[in-house]
Symmetry: C2
Subunit: 332 residues, 2 copies
């Protein structure tokens, strides 16, 4: 039995309609992406074409562009950096799919499922280096520096998470520190790039970076909930990979702390079986773990919104204000 999703206030994904006002900017980002990743070597081109099919919400370039519009003029540098952050994000997806031994992403086979781990490791590296090199084509070294700081933090968060697999005593604080790195490091970077390259003041830049950070944490908690209770048909990706690896996420941490049957949950997580996600369902229905995680995601979403007080009212600010709710209540 897969626990079902509680009724959702909005059954929205972070869909393109919210991003309609930046459609032209996103098109320019796409053009740069496809130009940067074109290769005459067919083995490279085949792999790159395949990850093009993972094309998702473009949340990260959108965050960068919306922040930029909210702060000042949008320039060529923003479009370039939008492509950079999307490539970094895609690289992390390709490597994550190896770590999670995932077989499906966005309804198509993962790179590791189709070409094996070797080519997945190399393709992730390729996307990383192409991203860094693209950032360096700007004359302003701050692009490379901000992206580099963020990817340092992303990789640290991923390493921490990897080291914690199998640690059933992980605390909420340790979990939040992991996702603050692995997910929020990049969303914060997007907002920082948007602001810095639009000439925002240091105070506004820091506030928007905190917005991006809180939004990223909210996003990841929602993502971790989907891994437990989402539907593969809807999300289009392998689910249950966290429990399969004994990777504790917020609902599981809460479940292990508050469930009257915590010791049986612990045994279940330790067991070698393949259907842990399904078997956990009844335990979740006996305690507040899922609601608790949803509430925490809402709190981070709210925290993100308050950071926008640094901006004057505008259409851009309104979209940024709406995003955290969308992120928390998405089903894909």
């Amino acid at each position: 039995m897969t626990p079902t999703l509680a009724p959702q206030p909005t059954v929205a994904r972070v869909s393109s309609d919210v991003f309609a006002p930046i459609a032209g900017d996103l098109e320019e980002v796409e053009r740069i992406l496809s130009q940067t990743l074109s290769s005459e070597r067919s083995c490279v081109a085949d792999l790159v074409n395949h990850v093009g099919r993972f094309r998702g919400k473009r949340l990260r370039p959108a965050l960068l562009l919306l922040t930029a519009h909210a702060c000042g003029p949008v320039t060529h540098a923003h479009h370039v950096l939008g492509a950079v952050v999307e490539m970094v994000h895609t690289a992390t997806l390709v490597h994550d799919d190896i770590l999670d031994a995932a077989s499906v992403r966005r309804h198509v086979p993962t790179v590791n499922a189709r070409w094996g781990n070797q080519q997945s490791v190399l393709l992730g590296d390729y996307l990383f280096t192409k991203a860094f090199h693209l950032a360096s084509t700007l004359d302003d070294v701050r692009g490379c520096r901000i992206v580099g700081e963020a990817t340092n933090r992303v990789c640290e968060g991923e390493l921490q998470q990897g080291a914690q697999c199998g640690n059933l005593d992980l605390t909420e604080g340790e979990y939040l520190d992991c996702i603050d790195g692995k997910t929020a490091g990049l969303t914060a970077c997007c907002c920082r790039l948007g602001a810095v390259f639009a000439g925002a003041t240091a105070a506004v830049t820091e506030s928007l970076a905190r917005y991006g950070r809180a939004l990223g944490v909210a996003f990841q908690i929602a993502d971790d909930l989907l891994d437990l209770i989402g539907e593969e048909r809807t999300t289009g990706k392998s689910l249950g990979t966290d429990v399969a690896q004994q990777k504790l996420t917020l609902p599981l941490i809460r479940l292990l702390r508050n469930s009257p049957a915590a010791s049986r949950v612990r045994e279940l997580l330790r067991s070698p079986g393949n259907h842990k996600r399904e078997l956990l369902g009844p335990y979740f229905s006996q305690c507040d773990a899922l609601d608790y995680a949803r509430r925490r995601a809402e709190e981070f979403a709210e925290q993100a919104r308050t950071e926008l007080d640094c901006l004057p009212p505008s259409a851009w600010r309104s979209i940024l204000e709406a995003l955290p709710q969308r992120v928390v209540h998405r089903v894909t």
Copy 2:
């Protein structure tokens, strides 16, 4: 039976004595490396400390520093960039060990053997991002750009090689194109960085980059020979990984073309056995494949040396002139 090494003109590794004149510079590179990779997170620190044990010849920073000295004044930027290229190189070793399923490097367990593939993927990513970020701490964006161009080429070469595993019809030209990317891309970059940041002219810079490229190709041919006929006791790393993966290198390409028993060699390479390296020995002794590969390495070494004609005579130029021979005749 493991084929034995033909008598070596010099039984040298690229040892520290050659680099004595830049010992102070290399110490400064070490200081920056250890400062950059220090982490308060113990899971990160443990992994980083372990790869510290892979410490090798520091050939890449040495190339960068020698080129710099030969062209003009050596600055802080050179030391920083020396640390950058060493980190990039270490990242590729960590990921290569996953691809090769290698268990030993520099006489200690590989990261994948000790911590598994997941942490190896992430550690390689971490070293890459730390390298790029370190380059971005310089105010001159050319550092990031030159490193990014090189790592683009390195990753492309690795992807090509990965796609060619199992292709027993690989040509010498295709092989050279692979190693021109995966190995020579970085050695050329080292020389380019040394020259550019010492204020060399464009003509001298291009000549020295070609020196680094030819040296890298010679180095890789020698490395591929060691994988076939070196001794694990001496090299301190897993050998025979190329044949195990049906990854054709120059001696094998020649063997498949010139051996009277080519079809049996082909069967042997296709077979599932674990002792292919040993079984290939007799076939190598019946044809010129090993000598041919050594000769080609010598040719690239000679090609490298001729590029140094752009430099005025100096102690630095003399060391650079001696390096290609050392690289070709090393046994570790």
